[in-house]
């Protein structure tokens, strides 16, 4: 951990720069080339429309003889896998003429759990100030709350905008409080345990770490299935931040990951909170083997992992589909949900855990790549700072 002055960025840092450059390019491409098509959904809602005019972000829709048919607004809200964009048409009497899902980036499995078509059918015909925004009506199964909430919030934002611009009515936005539950509490406790353990060291650190990981395995794993995933990180990187009021856990986890990486030089998320790391350690304890992987194989696997993470991120950003990035088999273990490939990965990784220590963390996990990026960057910045003094 030498903090000595570094005159020129090491090779690893150069690679980080290049990767960041390409990812930024992918993001720019993704965000510019995925402008949603609003015209056809508006035509669907207003079949008699002849002409549209955009003013201040809402569409004014005209029919035969320049008769105003209504307005259409489309404001996005953050879902699980990225932004959700619903277009709402309002007729001249102020009633909902139609709702269309313009864009959604949820994993298919989550998308199937929400009932966007049914919700839109239900609110068609309602006056814009009497729309039912109860997202519970959109959820099919617990677990899709974020997606359901995004649908409702996108509709609310679109309606509010049209009401303000077309009818000059400011619709009240009901305040929503932060949802702080068991999960958030456990996350804070785990990071605190990590800080204490890290400071104290010795056998207490060992015991704290085991205790923390077991709690993490139960709560972040089997109970809530909410480890950090590449999809969530990609959503952040692409600028689609979920509403912190009902996605507080991911903010806490990412903040903990970053802060502990920076201040302790080793991120405490992986050591104390990650449920999948815990699962591997439990399996490893059952197996009792501690085979050493030869260094050349470690280097090779780490290289492969970094390339995989980069490619997943690059593809997800260029296609602007954060949910695409996730290759982790977490949901297969914690919720018995996953593609056949993810089931296969789970099988391979946990079987390997019997023989070698935490193979996922070392050879597959994107978090390890991100940790290295953070550490390298920090070291470099610190070195530069020292140089400048």
């Amino acid at each position: 951990m030498g903090a000595g002055p570094v005159r020129r960025p090491p090779a690893r840092l150069v690679r980080i720069f290049i990767a960041t450059f390409f990812l930024a390019g992918a993001l720019v491409y993704g965000r510019t080339h995925h402008a949603p098509d609003l015209v056809s959904p508006i035509r669907e809602i207003f079949p008699e429309s002849q002409r549209m005019e955009v003013q201040q972000g809402i569409h004014h829709v005209y029919g035969d003889g320049e008769i105003l048919l209504g307005w259409a607004g489309a404001e996005s809200a953050a879902g699980y896998g990225g932004p959700m964009l619903l277009l709402v048409g309002i007729d001249t009497l102020g009633r909902v003429a139609g709702v269309r899902v313009v864009e959604q980036r949820e994993t298919p499995i989550f998308w199937r759990m929400v009932r966007a078509p049914e919700y839109s059918r239900r609110i068609v015909g309602s006056p814009f100030d009497a729309i039912n925004y109860d997202y519970q009506e959109v959820v099919a199964v617990t677990g899709a709350t974020l997606s359901a909430n995004a649908i409702v919030e996108s509709v609310r934002a679109s309606v509010t905008k049209v009401a303000g611009l077309a009818f000059d009515i400011r619709l009240p936005v009901p305040p929503r409080s932060f949802e702080f539950g068991l999960l958030e509490l456990v996350i804070l406790v785990l990071f605190s345990a990590g800080v204490v353990g890290h400071r104290l060291g010795g056998p207490i650190r060992r015991q704290l770490r085991w205790a923390g990981q077991l709690v993490g395995l139960l709560v972040l794993g089997f109970w809530e299935n909410s480890p950090i995933t590449l999809a969530k990180i990609t959503a952040f990187l692409s600028g689609y931040l979920p509403d912190p009021r009902n996605a507080l856990a991911i903010y806490l986890l990412l903040a903990g990951f970053l802060l502990t990486s920076i201040f302790f030089g080793r991120n405490l998320y992986c050591l104390y909170a990650c449920p999948f790391g815990a699962a591997q350690r439990v399996v490893g304890a059952i197996g009792g083997f501690k085979l050493k992987v030869p260094p050349w194989a470690v280097r090779l696997m780490e290289g492969v992992r970094n390339v995989v993470v980069f490619s997943a991120l690059f593809l997800a950003l260029i296609m602007l589909q954060p949910a695409l990035a996730s290759y982790e088999p977490f949901a297969a273990l914690f919720a018995l949900r996953g593609s056949t490939v993810q089931w296969f990965l789970l099988f391979i990784v946990l079987t390997a855990s019997l023989l070698i220590q935490t193979p996922w963390c070392n050879f597959f996990c994107p978090m390890r790549t991100f940790e290295l990026v953070v550490l390298d960057t920090k070291r470099w910045l610190k070195g530069r700072g020292g140089e400048g003094q």
Partner: protein
């Protein structure tokens, strides 16, 4: 496939099962491992788990549910392997009896 509906099939299965048990006994005696009831119980449970996994995969593919066969095979196979390694280590536990000495004496 008539054989699988017949009693003969299960009769043969039973013979095989007995042979397996006898083999484990012989193996434990050779190694001088004590085999108390709880070890036998664990072993039989594991045998049931392994048998279930194989039968699950077979049944699933048989009824045309290949996705269930694959994913379920991975899940139950994983559980079987991990439990197998754990039980293997438990079987090896316990003081080594004189069995080994007896064999070497003979």
């Amino acid at each position: 496939m008539q054989i699988f509906n017949s009693g003969l099939f299960w009769f043969v299965e039973g013979i095989l099962f007995v042979v397996v048990i006898m083999a484990v006994r012989a193996w434990a005696a050779d190694r001088g491992l004590p085999m108390p009831v709880w070890k036998w119980l664990l072993f039989l449970l594991w045998l049931g788990l392994a048998g279930f996994t194989i039968a699950f995969v077979g049944t699933s593919f048989g009824e045309g549910e290949s996705v269930a066969g694959t994913r379920g095979g991975f899940l139950f196979g994983l559980v079987t392997i991990i439990a197998g390694v754990g039980i293997w280590r438990l079987l090896l536990a316990g003081p080594v009896s004189d069995g080994e000495d007896a064999v070497s004496e003979a």
